[in-house]
Symmetry: C2
Subunit: 139 residues, 2 copies
């Protein structure tokens, strides 16, 4: 029935609005409302690998070392990353995420977690279980 579609549309529209709210909360809290999609991708790349150096990040992102230096300098100014000089080899610097940088790198997961927190607060346990059961069927 078309009314079912309509109703589903409405409830999901509302849910999407809540998600957007949670997401922009995160970026606002970090003071990074106009960070770009590419910058987030860089932070994620750093987060998803361990002990990332400048050469390694150039490799991962398919760019050059100067590009990485520039980008990282910007991120340092944005308080998203810091350099950690290797104690074993003074030439090497590891790129480390700050708390803020990690928050942005994991923004999607964090958004979803906040959204789920709100859902759990609005719903009783039975509803949550039913919701999990029903949505688990969607392919």
């Amino acid at each position: 029935m078309a009314a079912r579609r309509e109703h589903l549309f409405e409830v999901f529209n509302c849910l999407i609005a809540i998600k957007k709210e949670c997401s922009s909360q995160i970026f606002t809290e970090c003071g990074l409302v106009d960070i770009t999609v590419k910058q987030v991708a860089y932070l994620r790349a750093i987060d998803e690998h361990t002990d990332v150096t400048f050469s390694r990040l150039a490799e991962i992102t398919g760019t050059s070392k100067p590009t990485v230096t520039e980008m990282i300098n910007k991120f340092v100014r944005m308080e998203c990353v810091y350099r950690e000089r290797s104690s074993a080899d003074g030439r090497i610097a590891y790129i480390r995420l700050t708390r803020k940088g990690r928050m942005i790198a994991k923004a999607e997961q964090n958004t979803l977690n906040r959204m789920i927190e709100r859902m759990i607060q609005s719903l009783d346990d039975d509803d949550v279980d039913r919701l999990i059961e029903i949505l688990g069927k969607v392919r």
Copy 2:
């Protein structure tokens, strides 16, 4: 319980993946995979007003007429809009969305509609009704 949160996280993660799939389908079908966020915002502005002229769009977007001319020329090349000269006043041109332009302007709604179509195909009517009921409670 933490397990509930975990389960909710999983099912919603899956749902978000489906949504992304539906969304990129739309952009791929239009051949506009790397359209920018700003460009989509312009198309939406055109869609949300009637009989938009160049001056009007400059006003709406808080930019200048040359910027609009440039942007619209690009959109014409992308086959998202076309100019329609006013028959009453030869100086005026209305900016009209093509089928493709409208698809992009309404990409969010279209994405949601496709997602809902998939949900309806995966679920029976009772599940849909329950889903609407439960999600309707979320604030």
